[in-house]
């Protein structure tokens, strides 16, 4: 009986193609909205999470907001790294500065750092050497440049030995970093110069007070312990004023981010689900029209022996086939759209269709077909055969 009902449903649907398609359109659009939006958000979240965790999950960044006229001195850095929980420490002085070579005239982001910075941030060399402790101690006028920076400032990537003018001082390039292919390279300037902390503070004239520094824990697992240790040290250093500084934990940053994207997913999914619901109402509307139009057909079927349940089954299956066919078309189109977006986005983010959202879309469509199919189907099944046979539509 089920197979026969399915055949009858297919006949009814294919017998009125345009109307069936328009009815399904609501579900198609709803499914596309649901699948595409949720897939895009979750793909983007996955990519960003990957990128962020590649920056190092054991990174703690500290900013001093109020030094209480007792600024953190460079010499104190070694005290911090002396603690068992903290592995590496690097102060950070960051500035945007005009840079100049014989080839180009640009603005660069200048980082004043300790050599340990490269390890904390997992930066790797393409050519040349990293900064050395001696460079910092002797305030050597040397710098490591980003890959793109080398291309822009020198027109070539083997820039080791070249000179660049930063804030009126001539600096020698000693190393070039590997190309940054991560998504983070989209933010901030392409031209980054990494120079000894002491040199940058001298050029910018901001003094030796440390306003911000990076620290890393011994490993990812001891992250929380390291944060606690750092917190205690800072609290002691700033005489119990927890507002004087702020510590940002990379992994808590990720937690926050994932909870934000989680909310975003639910929000977008919810909006898409509403459009699916509207599609379901469309199905109900057309099914009701169809039941009225086919009153006579229902009468005939009843006269020749179709019972209440048989008629009901026929119309519910028709509603279900409409919604599931719409769902299938929607999923196919969503796949196409996601492929297209991936193509357009290039290799920065790989968008994939989320299997779980496809499952949700199918379940939702089944639910909608059933819920919005039952009422018209009941109406059809309850028709009095005598009146239905007399109906002149």
């Amino acid at each position: 009986m089920f197979v026969q009902s399915l055949k009858m449903a297919m006949k009814a649907i294919s017998g009125n193609k345009m109307r069936s398609f328009l009815t399904m359109l609501g579900v198609i659009i709803g499914v596309i909205a649901l699948v595409v939006l949720v897939s895009l958000v979750s793909s983007a979240t996955d990519s960003i999470t990957d990128q962020v965790s590649s920056l190092g999950n054991n990174l703690l960044s500290v900013s001093i907001m109020d030094d209480k006229e007792n600024p953190l001195k460079l010499s104190e850095m070694s005290d911090i790294s002396g603690d068992g929980e903290i592995d590496l420490v690097s102060p950070l002085a960051q500035a945007n500065s005009a840079v100049k070579t014989g080839y180009a005239d640009e603005t660069a982001t200048v980082y004043g750092i300790y050599p340990s910075y490269f390890e904390i941030q997992s930066l790797a060399l393409d050519s040349g050497r990293m900064l050395k402790t001696a460079d910092v101690e002797n305030s050597c006028y040397v710098a490591v440049i980003s890959y793109k920076g080398a291309e822009k400032m020198f027109g070539k990537t083997d820039a080791v030995g070249e000179k660049i003018t930063v804030g009126g001082r001539s600096i020698m390039i000693v190393g070039v970093l590997q190309e940054d292919e991560s998504m983070m390279s989209m933010f901030g300037s392409d031209i980054s110069l990494y120079m000894p902390y002491t040199v940058v503070t001298r050029i910018t004239g901001q003094g030796t007070a440390v306003n911000s520094f990076y620290a890393s824990s011994v490993n990812t697992e001891s992250m929380d312990d390291a944060e606690t240790a750092l917190e205690n040290m800072m609290l002691k250093r700033f005489k119990g004023d927890s507002d004087a500084y702020s510590i940002v934990n990379q992994s808590s940053l990720m937690d926050t981010m994932s909870s934000i994207t989680g909310i975003l997913t639910v929000l977008l999914g919810g909006i898409a689900a509403i459009s699916l619901l509207v599609g379901g109402i469309g199905i109900m509307n057309i099914m009701l029209v169809s039941v009225t139009e086919r009153t006579r057909e229902i009468g005939i079927r009843k006269a020749i022996g179709a019972g209440h349940g048989t008629i009901m089954l026929q119309f519910i299956i028709e509603a279900l086939v409409l919604s599931l066919l719409g769902c299938a078309i929607g999923i196919a189109l969503s796949w196409g759209i996601i492929e297209l977006v991936t193509l357009v986005a290039g290799d920065t983010i790989t968008f994939t269709m989320s299997a779980s959202v496809v499952g949700i879309a199918v379940a939702f469509s089944v639910g909608i077909g059933l819920i919005f199919g039952i009422y018209p189907a009941r109406k059809a099944a309850k028709k009095n055969p005598i009146e239905a046979l007399r109906y002149d539509g």
């Binding site: 006949k11 017998g15 006579r296 005939i300 020749i304 022996g305 179709a306 209440h308 005598i386």
Partner: protein, 225 residues
């Protein structure tokens, strides 16, 4: 011979606009197995109500109706559908074929509702279509068939379940005189081969074709000699 239909003081009352209308007023009749009976009556005589009750589309308010040994009481919709499916073959004035189905599929439909298996279904459909001489046009849809052919498909659909009773409601009402004769001849043939036929009409000429005529007026059934 066995009694196929026994009606004993069957009444049916409808309320139309606050007024009670006795569509059937203690109507009694009996029809034996294998009989060809026509029931004639003007419109408003209770003819349609009688047909609906004989066809198990409706149940009597009072009185007794026994069809093929089975007393039809206030059965549920589902049970009535089952009885219709098994015991009664309908032939309507306006053919009442499903427009989207082919002749063959229309004939097959009652068997599908009966839950008959595929091969048995095909065999019985073939038989029924042979019976009405429409095998050649079995893949055509109703709109591609003439009125007479459509009515023959309807007869085949009525026959396919091998019902106890063939109930025809003005079967020639929508046909020209030539095709009417054809359909009436088909009924005669079916009668000869043992089918019980009840033909409901308002047309005296058509009614005379039957071996026995019952007259209905004001909700009462009387025998016409």
């Amino acid at each position: 011979m066995n009694e196929m239909i026994v009606m004993n003081e069957v009444s049916k009352v409808y309320t139309i606009g606050g007024e009670n209308v006795h569509a059937l007023n203690k109507a009694s009749l009996s029809i034996r197995d294998g009989e060809f009976v026509s029931i004639i009556g003007p419109s408003g005589s209770g003819k349609s109500t009688l047909m609906n009750i004989i066809g198990c589309l409706d149940t009597p308010d009072s009185g007794e109706y026994v069809l093929d040994g089975q007393s039809i009481r206030a059965y549920s919709e589902k049970q009535l559908a089952k009885i219709r499916n098994k015991k009664i073959g309908f032939v309507f004035q306006s053919f009442n074929l499903l427009a989207k189905l082919t002749a063959e599929e229309n004939v097959e439909l009652p068997l599908i509702y009966q839950g008959t298996g595929y091969s048995e279904r095909k065999k019985r459909v073939q038989e029924a279509l042979e019976r009405v001489e429409l095998t050649a046009r079995r893949h055509h849809k109703p709109t591609e068939l003439s009125g007479g052919q459509q009515q023959r498909v309807a007869v085949a659909r009525a026959l396919v379940t091998r019902p106890s009773l063939l109930l025809a409601d003005e079967p020639t009402g929508n046909l020209d005189s030539k095709t009417s004769v054809e359909i009436i001849r088909l009924f005669h043939e079916l009668h000869k081969s043992g089918n019980t036929i009840v033909l409901i009409t308002h047309d005296n000429e058509v009614a005379k074709q039957a071996k026995r005529i019952l007259h209905i007026n004001d909700g009462k059934v009387t025998e016409v000699a």
